[in-house]
């Protein structure tokens, strides 16, 4: 494609691309995101290509689109056939010939591959009608299935860079900022700080040059929305950044992305090249005289490097350690110059706001939290995946309507939001609306959008210990409260899970928790005690059971449980003895087996192995 020199030329190009594309042509969209690739979608793509040749399907009427992640990773690999929008789940290479001959050519639906509602048994053909998708509002991530992230034409055909064209076609930088402030776009990376204010402060700050950064460090374990966006729709992130740069008056941007995201790096790099060659990035963008370029910076993957001052240090080539300072990054950030740092998802919201207007955007969400939020829904939940929901939805709707509830009919216990330093929310708050302020009110936070569901088989002391251990290992070690405090706190939790805790330990934890929050240098330590304090607040009885009764009610903490064999159920099949790594399970065939408590390491192998539910944990 040749360089375009004005917003008008871009619109002309869009019309040309759209005209070439017949909406009635069939298209096989196959998820090629990291999740589905891991499940073998690359082989499915190859099989489709081969099969198209073999069956002699006319490639002029049938195309393949390798897309980004549509979010329903639980059911991957996902294949959607357009224009009928027939959604096939858990597709294997074996299904490919049949899909092509029956569905693509003859428009027949293959029953076994479409979604089956676990409750009603009903088959649902269209992806938009699957309960997982029905309650979502996929304004930001929804385009993933419609485009090949490696294709700039795809992005342009679906309305891409129209927001940039609109901005460069007569909006002043101030009016762009005004629009973002009016939309009340709040940062999606953690703090929820209004993006427009940050832009304005950076614009007004003294000092040149100014920098702008996209934070794609995404260190929260289990979170992958930023990856899915950068990987699946890189141009929407770039478009947001270019608009931001224009509004702020900035010539150089960075994408700070963790090294563990090779596909995101690949797709973003390619997107940058393509945008540059089309004149959407670089010098004289769309003939406007405005210059801006973006570099990709790969981070080593330390969690703390997502923190702003550590991230700056890392880009500058220094150790990724937070700096204690009381000046805003908007005044002195990267290289001590005014810097605006926003999260991937924040940037991806920008084109949407410019295209549809702040007034429209404000209709979604609650009083002080507008728009949607993407969550990574994981844990004890039927439908794991990425869900984009309007702010103000209830936790119950997310967990039960979208997530399909808790597997095996177990009982919901808590949902952890906000990443490792978020809080655990108990059942009594299931009908609470989800937004920045409501989550903070009950001792959790939005964070970057992790959502981990737990059932009655999760021990809350163990859960708190798990997150604390993660934070202990990710602490940079610079300041005393975080380095020593989180470590000592985890040691106390270890003691409690081993049945050696005292009631004074609980007072100590509460006291030191607040002091760590108050005393830490950066927000890692400043939020690290949250998982402990929130579980202590809502699940104190579980802590007390470990201390007073020396019992782990959920049957998790190894020191406090014993494995025995139910003589009623045991058939003497010998499986437990065969799988037991320490020879603790023994017995004579066809008689009741026993477990030697001295030898038992509570690894759970016998439970997994037993076909008669004969192993009792108590």
């Amino acid at each position: 494609m040749k360089r375009i020199k004005s917003p008008q030329e871009l619109e002309k190009l869009r019309k040309e691309i759209q005209a070439e594309r017949d909406p009635n042509k069939s298209c096989i969209a196959i998820c090629a995101g990291t999740g589905c690739l891991a499940l073998g979608s690359d082989k499915i793509i190859a099989a489709f290509k081969k099969e198209i040749k073999k069956q002699g399907v006319d490639t002029a009427v049938t195309t393949i689109r390798e897309t980004g992640c549509p979010g329903f990773c639980e059911q991957g690999p996902i294949v959607v056939i357009y224009p009928e929008e027939i959604c096939y789940l858990r597709v294997t290479v074996k299904d490919v010939p049949e899909i092509l001959s029956k569905t693509v050519v003859n428009k027949e639906v293959i029953e076994r591959l479409v979604y089956k509602d676990p409750a009603s048994g009903e088959r649902i053909v269209k992806d938009s009608e699957i309960p997982f998708y029905r309650k979502q509002k996929r304004y930001v991530i929804g385009n993933n299935i419609n485009i090949d992230p490696k294709s700039l034409e795809d992005y342009i055909a679906t309305g891409g860079y129209a927001a940039l064209a609109k901005v460069l076609n007569g909006m002043s930088p101030e009016s762009v900022i005004e629009e973002i402030i009016k939309a009340n776009l709040r940062g999606r990376g953690g703090g929820g700080f209004p993006a427009g204010w940050k832009w304005e402060a950076t614009r007004k700050a003294k000092g040149e040059p100014k920098y702008l950064i996209c934070n794609a460090d995404e260190g929260d374990p289990g979170a992958f929305m930023d990856r899915a966006l950068l990987e699946g729709s890189p141009h929407s992130v770039l478009e947001g950044m270019i608009i931001g740069a224009y509004a702020i008056g900035c010539g150089q941007g960075y994408i700070y992305v963790r090294n563990e995201y090779p596909l995101a790096v690949e797709n973003a790099t390619l997107a940058l090249e393509k945008a540059r060659s089309l004149g959407l990035l670089g010098d004289d963008i769309l003939g406007s005289g405005f210059n801006f370029d973006i570099k990709i910076n790969r981070g080593g993957g330390a969690f703390v490097c997502g923190e702003s001052s550590a991230l700056f240090a890392s880009i500058e080539g220094r150790t990724g350690e937070p700096r204690a300072k009381y000046v805003h990054a908007t005044d002195r950030g990267l290289y001590d110059k005014p810097t605006d740092l926003n999260n991937v998802e924040t940037w991806a919201n920008v084109p949407l706001i410019i295209n549809k207007g702040a007034d429209w955007y404000r209709t979604i969400g609650t009083e002080n939290s507008k728009g949607t939020k993407i969550f990574a829904l994981v844990g004890k939940i039927n439908n794991t995946g990425l869900v984009e929901v309007p702010m103000g939805i209830t936790l119950r709707e997310i967990i039960y309507d979208i997530g399909g509830g808790i597997p095996h009919g177990r009982k919901f216990k808590a949902v952890q939001t906000g990443g490792p330093s978020g809080g655990c929310i108990p059942e009594q708050f299931l009908d609470m609306t989800v937004d920045f302020d409501e989550l903070a009110k009950i001792g959790s936070m939005m964070g970057s959008g992790g959502m981990i569901v737990m059932d009655d088989h999760n021990c809350m002391v163990d859960v708190a210990r798990y997150f604390l251990k993660f934070l202990e290992e990710e602490s940079c070690g610079k300041c005393t409260p975080c380095r020593e405090g989180v470590y000592q706190m985890r040691m106390i939790l270890d003691k409690i899970t081993e049945g050696k805790g005292t009631m004074e330990d609980l007072d100590t934890i509460e006291w030191m928790g607040q002091a760590i929050i108050d005393g830490s240098l950066c927000a890692l330590g400043g939020t690290a005690p949250n998982p402990v304090l929130s579980t202590l607040k809502y699940f104190r009885h579980e802590y007390e059971a470990h201390i007073k009764d020396k019992k782990c009610p959920a049957g998790v903490c190894k020191a406090l449980i014993t494995y025995t064999i139910d003589p009623e159920k045991c058939t003497g099949c010998d499986v437990c003895a065969r799988v037991c790594p320490t020879d603790a399970a023994t017995g004579k065939k066809k008689e009741v087996y026993t477990i030697d408590q001295e030898k038992c390491i509570k690894c759970g192998a016998c439970i997994e192995g037993c076909n008669f539910d004969a192993v009792i944990v108590s």
Partner: protein, 237 residues
């Protein structure tokens, strides 16, 4: 002359030059704020978190490190609020768990009414204030030592944990360490820092061992003067 600003510390009105930290302003007014990682010769680092104070500015109250926060007009500082004292008590108890003997730490603990740490004492000695690392980098200019490891495994080390190749044996780290953790001794013309030996230069005139050879080489390199210029001790020069 720097512009002066007016603030209050514990209710006392104080004026201080703009750009000074709360810790400096307090010191000039004879108000004590405990601190361990701060050193006037070094860039503020803000890592020990003993100097935390509560400030109110423009109606907002929060806790900041006095060694970093720069004074502004109308700032209200409270050195000993309950929240702040809790942070300091936690910090000193945590540091006592690394070193429960050194008088400098004991003194601060006493001031805070802390008799013993409630955490298991591990006697690591070093409290990781980083003054040695920063002195070596900022004052001496060689960066022979740095931090390694993260979180609780953080420690002071030479690159690759080995003999510090850039060390000039000047002993500045030994001198600044607030808890005398870095041992140094001199015997038979050899200076030993921790377990590393550095030969000393003998004065060409009086025969006294007066400085580590590596330090003199470093002087020669940085000043551009020939090495023999440094072969006499100061008394004989």
């Amino acid at each position: 002359m720097a512009e002066m600003v007016t603030l209050t510390i514990d209710g006392r009105t104080i004026s201080a030059p703009a750009g000074t930290t709360i810790l400096e302003a307090a010191k000039d007014a004879n108000i004590y704020i405990p601190n361990l990682c701060n050193n006037e010769e070094l860039t503020p680092y803000g890592s020990c978190r003993l100097c935390m104070v509560e400030i109110t500015h423009k109606g907002r109250t929060r806790i900041v490190a006095a060694c970093i926060y720069e004074v502004v007009d109308g700032l209200e500082v409270n050195v000993n609020t309950e929240r702040v004292l809790n942070v300091r008590k936690l910090v000193i108890e945590l540091l006592l768990a690394r070193n429960n003997e050194h008088p400098a730490l004991r003194k601060i603990a006493d001031e805070l009414g802390v008799k013993e740490t409630r955490f298991p004492v591990e006697k690591k000695g070093c409290i990781l204030c980083g003054q040695c690392v920063r002195t070596c980098r900022e004052v001496v200019g060689v960066s022979a030592i740095g931090f390694s490891g993260r979180g609780i495994t953080r420690r002071i080390a030479a690159p690759f944990m080995d003999f510090p190749p850039d060390c000039i044996a000047c002993g500045s780290c030994v001198y600044v360490c607030p808890v005398n953790f870095i041992p140094m001794r001199e015997e038979n013309g050899v200076r030993t820092i921790i377990r590393f030996d550095f030969p000393m230069q003998q004065c060409k005139k009086c025969g006294k061992y007066f400085a580590p050879k590596k330090q003199l080489e470093y002087f020669s390199k940085t000043t551009g003067l020939p090495l023999d210029h440094f072969e006499n001790c100061i008394d004989c020069r």
